[in-house]
């Protein structure tokens, strides 16, 4: 039987593989991928809410802004009881879930200052939730009372 294909030596086969060696590239790319995955897992899940510290007295500029006072207390059934007083308007009571909607309905929010005044016995988690609701409603300047 006649052979139509020429036998090739190992060297000839090796020399046919022209082009860059992919092994180190794959190696480095995989390590970089793991690096970014680890960085995202470590740095990703946290962020912050910016808060102002209360100052005794107020400046002339601050007197022209809308002042929103938000008190956070523990309700009778151990749920958050929130009272919102915007300027001279009568106070409104709310739960945590309804707070963002009440704050969003307030006029001139971009020029407003909110002061969150929690009771001593409320969990810190509720304070952050109130802060979050202010941020969601577009109130940039939020302060925490001591």
């Amino acid at each position: 039987m006649k052979h139509y294909f020429r036998n090739r030596s190992a060297r000839a086969v090796h020399e046919q593989h022209a082009g860059p060696n992919m092994t180190p590239m794959v190696d480095v790319v995989m390590v970089i991928l793991i690096f970014f995955m680890a960085s995202a897992a470590i740095l990703g899940p946290e962020w912050f809410l910016k808060s102002a510290l209360p100052v005794v007295g107020g400046s002339a500029a601050a007197s022209k802004t809308t002042r929103i006072k938000i008190t956070v207390a523990r309700g009778p059934d151990a749920t958050p009881l929130i009272t919102i007083t915007a300027g001279d308007a009568p106070p409104k009571e709310s739960s945590l879930s309804g707070l963002a909607a009440i704050l969003a309905a307030l006029p001139d929010k971009s020029n407003a200052i909110a002061l969150v005044s929690p009771s001593a016995d409320v969990p810190y988690d509720w304070v952050v939730r109130v802060h979050e609701a202010c941020a969601q409603a577009g109130i940039a300047r939020v302060g925490l009372a001591e």
């Binding site: 793991i34 690096f35 809410l49 810190y124 988690d125 979050e132």
Partner: protein
């Protein structure tokens, strides 16, 4: 018989691929070990938030407030301290300079009565800005 000339890499040319490989593995290792060590030192259950900012400024100082059955445990960076020492430590670290701020990592289970002295101490030390650190939540999480 003719032999093909051997192709040796030119002398003085360094292969940087294994170097990058090893350096990146070391960075990942130290990132993970550092994070695990920090977590073991200051275990805090952060409150959740669906909105927030992520720019971590290098000039920030972190105050960690752990929940403890008897009393709250305060760390300034890695240093454990008492609430009475906090304003002096903050001033010593120059945190009252413009552009600097304090990151507050407080446990969500703490009563606000444990957190408010920290805020009072920051105000006393002249801290310009306070950042409340929270766990990132998806908008539809609740």
């Amino acid at each position: 018989m003719r032999l093909r000339p051997h192709h040796h890499p030119p002398a003085g040319k360094i292969n940087v691929t294994p170097l990058i490989d090893v350096v990146m593995v070391l960075i990942v290792f130290y990132l993970i070990v550092g994070k695990l060590a920090a977590d073991a030192r200051a275990k805090v259950q952060l409150p959740g938030a669906r909105v927030g900012v992520t720019d971590n400024a290098a000039a920030d100082l972190t105050i960690t407030l752990q929940a403890d059955p008897n009393s709250s445990v305060i760390f300034v960076g890695d240093e454990r301290c008492t609430i009475a020492d906090l304003p002096a430590i903050l001033r010593a670290r120059g945190i009252n300079q413009p552009g600097r701020s304090v990151q507050l990592r407080a446990d969500k289970a703490l009563d606000y009565s444990k957190v408010s002295p920290i805020i009072a101490a920051c105000r006393e030390a002249g801290v310009p800005s306070l950042k409340l650190i929270a766990q990132r939540e998806d908008p539809g999480a609740r």
